[in-house]
């Protein structure tokens, strides 16, 4: 097992290098450069300024040299400085955005699991019942509803008309003056709408997945055996069926690890949440190469780790795989 782990981790390195090389090439293929924001369509900025800026950023070097410099810096875990006008370290820019994004994603995944697993189980057990159909309808409405539209409706009604929730942002204006308990409540109060909206859209995937897993397991011979030996239905479902049906969820959860740092630009713009989605989008729009690469690398690492965790977790949970 230990050897297997070590092999997997070592194999991740060339994979990561490959991912970065491809991403690096692709983002440089897109027309436009980080210098454009300041120099394009600006009557004040001369050609000479543009050249100087390109030189400062090292953009006048061949692409391979640029990549080499970048990898060398990455080897010391230095993501470099942003090419935007603030020129801050990429790492700082990412770190200040991470907590709120991860928090919202964790809460929303938690809420999704909390709601969609019971929905999935129940609709599998009562397949084609009224409940099954209505939940299917509901989760697909959630899936199909554009989140910006739902957000705006909720903000207008619950935020402006009823005044129950703050419309946008993550903290009130006077946050600094609140006591610790009130500060926590203030953040929760701000997060309710965004978490609800983002969870609503994610119900469909998990609940449908759960439903089909459950259906598959219920059709297995060992369930028939369990029933035949006279176990109460509660035990058949709760112990034999459910535990087996939950196994594939480990894989899905493993695959959602990179999603924890990803945010949606539309969603974050609407709720004025300073998260990763907006950071990445703005970075792409101004061709801020170090920032884009920094986020991509973190995403790639998390994807690889997530895959590994899923495999390991699966092996730990399922003796059939462990013993092979």
């Amino acid at each position: 097992m230990l050897f297997y782990l070590l092999k997997r981790v070592l194999l991740m390195l060339p994979l990561l290098l490959g991912i970065t090389l491809i991403s690096f090439t692709v983002i440089h293929l897109a027309p436009g450069e980080p210098t454009d924001l300041q120099t394009e369509m600006n009557p004040e900025a001369g050609v000479e300024f543009k050249e100087r800026l390109r030189n400062q950023y090292g953009l006048d070097q061949p692409l391979l040299v640029q990549y080499g410099t970048w990898v060398k810096r990455l080897a010391t875990l230095d993501f470099g400085h942003s090419f935007s006008q603030d020129r801050r370290p990429v790492w700082d820019k990412i770190v200040e955005r991470l907590p709120v994004t991860v928090l919202i994603n964790l809460l929303s995944i938690g809420l999704i699991l909390l709601v969609s697993i019971p929905i999935g189980i129940l609709s599998a057990l009562r397949r084609h019942s009224w409940f099954d159909r209505m939940t299917t309808l509901l989760v697909f409405i959630g899936f199909a509803t554009p989140s910006f539209w739902l957000s705006l409706l909720l903000m207008d009604y619950l935020g402006v008309y009823l005044g129950w929730f703050p419309v946008s942002g993550i903290k009130s204006l006077g946050y600094e003056y609140l006591g610790p308990v009130n500060q926590i409540w203030d953040v929760i109060h701000h997060l309710i709408l965004p978490v609800l909206v983002s969870a609503f859209g994610g119900l469909a995937g998990f609940s449908r997945y759960m439903r089909s897993n459950m259906l598959e397991v219920i059709g297995q011979d060992y369930i028939l055996t369990a029933r035949a030996k006279g176990l109460p239905e509660r035990l058949v479902i709760g112990k034999h069926a459910l535990r087996n049906a939950l196994l594939p969820l480990i894989t899905i959860l493993g695959l959602s690890v990179p999603g924890l740092i990803g945010g949606s630009v539309i969603f974050e713009s609407i709720f004025a949440i300073p998260g990763m989605g907006k950071l990445f989008y703005d970075g792409v729009m101004m061709r801020d190469y170090p920032l884009i690469m920094g986020i991509l690398v973190i995403g790639a690492v998390l994807t690889l780790i997530g895959n590994l965790l899923a495999d390991v977790g699966y092996a730990l949970a399922d003796p059939r795989i462990r013993n092979r």
Binding site: M41, L173, E268, I270
Partner: protein, 547 residues
């Protein structure tokens, strides 16, 4: 589970219904203080929360070229001079200035007793230092060009600053409106790594307090400001990237000021509840939208064709359709009402008949009767390119498309992402016509956009407009100092543009700011409403934020 679900779906439907119903009958608690406004007098205190769609990037004025950064930096820093409410140049950190007879030298006499926010006195050494920083090749500033024209700068005593130019330069004086930076905090440092990028120290009416990236920037009043302390205690810029959210925040009381879209101004802000809480303002923006013709393309080389297209476009229809009437027709590159503006130029009223005549004179006729014009067997067809993300331009393009179809010109509209748009279409001259806009600079010098020497790749005369008289006028205009003479020069410049039609000037949109009513002392002027921001105040009994 079952009942829970039923409740959820039911609740959701009820909610949708309620939203639909509530649109018509929205009400807010009345603002009790409206009646007392007349007895109000200036009081210090309260906070103004302004909405901005983008975060600032860098608060050292020379390092940032985005609007959000310069707006914030504008309250923290001062220039030597500035435009007053009527767009006349007046002194800011300079008490007065002298211009030598040949127009080549300016001597600024600086104010005494001004200090930086950290208490250190402001002197001419700071101005000289700022100038040196601007021209330092290591400083990545887009604005170096103006200051490279200076041949000598000196600070003979702490309150005098002299600059000398080789040739008179019309925009020289106003170029000293740049934000002056503190020498004692920046000297000998890498300016791009200075802490002042994130926490500026200036001489301006507001001091920097905090910046939470992507969230808000907070400033507070500078009680020692040399023009008198502002009344408003605190300024908060809230970053809200979405205009609809911003408007909802405004209604819910989370914002005091924002710029409205034409739709919001015309359709969503006329209710009594809204009017009771907010004041709307409207004045022409410093910008215009145009249809530019690539003059390298044979079809646009005949000016009658360009004139014909201008006659075929209905400007008023564009203003009504795109801006809901909140704008005015553009006749040239200057803002109507500003001093260089010449209203007496040739105008192209909507006249499809005249358009067809002009096109026929240029050889474009519908020979085969299919409704499209041809010349030498080739149909008159071209593509208008514009950039993604600007709905007004796309809508204008669609309306133009329809109007040109009526005179027999087939128009395609292509919308392209900004960077590709510039790299693949505009700079290589790989377009036929383009719908774009310019902001109107305060100084009328249009050399970089209209001079024939600026037609190279990546330069701004990308339509390749070349006119000898225009070149002469532009060269003369930027070297002439008297406003009356310049007005004459630019009046002729505008006449030539109107006759030659390198662009069809479409419209000047209106700025549509809205401010919460509790702020008093706002004065609308040619420069907008922010010119007397330090005199805005909230009467004591209406103040909303007590600390």
């Amino acid at each position: 589970m079952k009942s829970l679900f039923g409740l959820r779906l039911g609740g959701w439907l009820v909610f949708v219904l309620l939203v639909l119903l509530s649109v018509g009958c929205r009400q807010h608690e009345a603002d009790p203080s409206v009646s007392e406004r007349l007895s109000a007098r200036p009081e210090a205190g309260d906070t103004i929360i302004m909405g901005t769609i983008g975060d600032a990037s860098n608060l050292l004025p020379m390092l940032a070229s985005d609007a959000s950064s310069s707006e914030v930096a504008g309250l923290v820093y001062n220039g030597l001079v500035r435009y007053d409410k009527n767009l006349q140049i007046e002194g800011e950190l300079a008490e007065s200035w002298e211009l030598s007879d040949d127009g080549c030298e300016i001597i600024f006499h600086l104010r005494h007793g001004v200090s930086w926010h950290d208490g250190v006195p402001f002197t001419s050494a700071d101005v000289l230092f700022t100038y040196q920083l601007m021209i330092d090749p290591k400083t990545p500033t887009a604005y170096a060009e103006r200051y490279k024209q200076v041949s000598a700068a000196s600070a003979p005593d702490p309150y005098t600053f002299c600059v000398h130019y080789d040739k008179p330069l019309a925009s020289a004086l106003i170029s000293w409106s740049l934000g002056i930076c503190p020498k004692h905090l920046l000297e000998g440092q890498d300016v791009t790594a200075s802490p002042l990028n994130r926490s500026p120290v200036g001489t301006g009416p507001f001091r920097f307090v905090t910046w939470q990236p992507g969230e808000k920037i907070v400033l507070e009043r500078n009680p020692d400001y040399f023009e008198g302390a502002p009344w408003i205690q605190r300024v908060v810029y809230r970053i809200i990237p979405d205009l609809t959210t911003m408007f909802l925040e405004l209604q819910s009381g989370g914002l005091d000021q924002m710029g409205l879209t034409p739709l919001q101004y015309a359709r969503q802000t006329d209710g009594p509840a809204f009017r009771r809480r907010f004041s709307k303002y409207r004045y022409p923006a410093f910008a215009y939208t145009y249809l530019g013709y690539n003059l390298h393309k044979p079809m646009f080389q005949d000016k009658r064709v360009r004139q014909a297209i201008s006659h075929a476009i209905n400007q008023q229809e564009l203003i009504d359709g795109v801006l809901l009437g909140l704008g005015q027709p553009a006749t040239g590159p200057y803002k109507p009402g500003s001093w260089p503006y010449n209203g007496q130029v040739k105008r192209y009223d909507y006249n499809p008949q005249r358009a067809r005549e002009l096109l026929a004179q240029a050889g474009w006729q519908d020979a085969d009767g299919d409704g499209w014009l041809e010349r030498e067997g080739k149909p008159f067809s071209f593509t208008i390119v514009t950039n993604q993300g600007n709905d007004q331009r796309i809508k204008a393009g669609e309306i133009i498309q329809r109007r040109l179809q009526e005179v027999g010109i087939k128009v395609q509209l292509r919308v392209i992402e900004w960077a590709s748009f510039l790299k693949e279409f505009i700079h290589p001259g790989n377009f036929e016509a383009t719908l774009l806009g310019w902001t109107v600079p305060m100084d009328p010098d249009g050399y970089n956009v209209w001079h024939s020497s600026k037609t190279g790749k990546g330069q701004l005369n990308f339509i390749s407009f070349k006119n000898e008289r225009v070149d002469e006028l532009l060269e003369l205009g930027r070297r002439t100092l008297g406003r009356a003479q310049r007005k004459k020069i630019y009046a002729e410049f505008q006449q030539i543009l109107a006759e030659e039609v390198p662009y069809t000037f479409l419209f000047v949109p209106d700025s549509l700011p809205v401010v919460a009513r509790r702020f008093h002392g706002i004065e609308e002027a040619p420069a907008g409403i922010m010119h007397n921001f330090i005199h805005w105040y909230v009467p004591k009994d209406q103040q909303k934020f007590l600390r």
